[in-house]
Amino acid sequence: MSASAGATIDAVVDQVDVVADQVVSLVLRRADGQPFQPWQPGAHIDVHVGDGLIRQYSLCSSPDELDHLRIGVLHVPDSRGGSKAVHALLAGTPLTISEPRNNFPLRESRRYLYIAGGIGITPLIPMLEAAQAAGKEWTLIYGGRSRNTMAFAQQLEDLYGTDRIRIIAEDEAGRLDLDQILGMPRAHMLVYACGPGGLLGAVEERCMGWPPGALHTERFVASTLGAAAANAPFEVELARTGTTVTVPNDKTILEAVEEVGVRVLSSCRGGLCGTCETQIIAGEPEHRDAVLTQEDRDAGEIMLVCVSRAAAGCSRLVLDL
């Protein structure tokens, strides 16, 4: 059912730890003992979990340590079986994965507010490390049902202190008070949020009062192709001219299209402002912007070509350009 999502790596499960109720942490190494390619906070890997299923898990290890990768996986009973399969893995098991890829990059700014809901903490962990190392002003608000379900909560508190790390367990303190957390926008503060859809929707709603582009979210929504996030080159057909352009891994659609002399109105070129919104005539995009609403994404009619790409398994997008 799933399409290939680029080169795979033979890895091995080095260590399995139960880090919270229903959450395991897996340490992965390359089977050939080589280091992984460098990656940036926010990156994830594909994990081939068997029966053709591919799942994405964010990396929560340190980008400074490339001899291993660590992921945290929540067991979701009503899912399509990915997390169940991962939870069944034992140390020593060989595992096919991808190189790290990043749809949730950390942008340079002066201040950061991180918001995690449950297992959404994982991509944020390397971000906290980066912000701390760079001497930035930052805070993490981490919400969960109860402390024993909140992976890495204690370690983060021990490492960074309770000034920086605010653990809000629902059974102690109720739900995250987003009106209070997001009621006062701060200049040059970027908000990075990861967690369940309901939480992200509520965060998005409140961040409408923030400067455009302040909010960055990562959603774990499997594409309808059931495949991994794309990183393979793909083709873009420009419907108005009939030209076809290949978009390589290291270029955006916008760049690739501009290189053949086609102009697209753009402003921020970072998925923040919406100026480069383009109609999709055919194909399925993988949205990487911070602008479109979930409704727009679900409708699949438009995309921001400065950051978004073709979904994995979709080798050709036809755009109204």
């Binding site: 006062m184 200049a187 009062g209 400067p211 102009r263 753009s266």
Partner: protein, 399 residues
Amino acid sequence: MTVTTHDANVLDEDPFDTANLLDPYPFLGRLRDAGAVSYLESAGSYAVAGYQEVYEVLTDFETYISSGGLGPRDIRKDSGWRPPSILESDPPIHTVMRRALTGVINPGTVRALREPFTPPAVELTEQLARRNRFDAITDLAEKYPLRVFPDAVGIPDVGREHLLPYGNMVFNAFGPENYIFKQAFAQGDEHAAAVMRNCQRENLDDTGFGAQIWKRVEDGLITEQQATLLVRALLSAGVDTTIFGIGNTLSVLARYPEAWAQLRENPKMAKFAVDEALRLESPFQKFHRTVAVDTVLGGVHIPAGAKVLVFLGAANRDPRKWGENADDFDLNRNASGHVAFGMGLHQCVGQPIARLEMEIVLQQLLERVATIEPAGAPVPILHNVLRGFESLPVRVTAA
């Protein structure tokens, strides 16, 4: 004054004198040459003219606050002429209002406007293409937004004639209380009352942006007063600036026949032409911010309580950002990053609607007009903060 690095260069020029208003660019050049931040003795304000420094003021909304008002007076000290708008507020008051507006004006709701916005542009440009000369301001730029935008907001037909004079008041008030200001405020009470009346729930139709904003009152997000103020903000911000944007674009294109020819061959470049024209002839040229705490900008110490006059028009022609040909219209230039719509927290919420109006009207004109050229000297409008024309006679040949 404590000086951290250097004193601001003091300029004894007045940005609001008639000559500088009618032709701002020589003055803006001298202002940039005096430094990214200088002190304007005439205004008692610091002038911010460098792109980088303007960007910093716009994005650091904690240091450069808006609740002091966009004019030279600090409206926190003596009350302004009307209840403060979203533009004259800071978080957290600003936040709920911005949220309400952003929830209403978004890519989806704006996309839906292309259909109703197109026929009036077709009709107007069809009429104009049949004449060999017309006034691009009074016959087109002023007509089109007034045809489509009040409908999109959903205000009644009665009282629409107050929109232009009201917008004229609002924007002129961002400058000093000079004779331009006083003229704009003649019959001010009448205009303001008429516009406020049209912002009330019962006077708005059920489908426009106005009613959508009022829905947020039912949701408990904003108060009734805030809803009225937000509809008022849409009406005052969305008419004059768009009119000036269309007029300024045509004023530029009439002077660049090669660009018109290029656009005729490729009308989907209309939006790029508009964007570059907005950079070159920014309708919203300048406004004030108030410094909340002592700060340093561009190496200049600015004390708390000071007013800074932010020159968007100067930033958009700063050669350090745009290169040596910053004063030229270049259809192939990537104008992204210009600050004609502001930047950051107060960045124009209606920007996509304005862009849509400008693009549609230009595309329709391109379809019907083979050549356009000046047919007489354009008459710049004497305005404290906006840049535009009262009259722009053009000669055209039909396609």
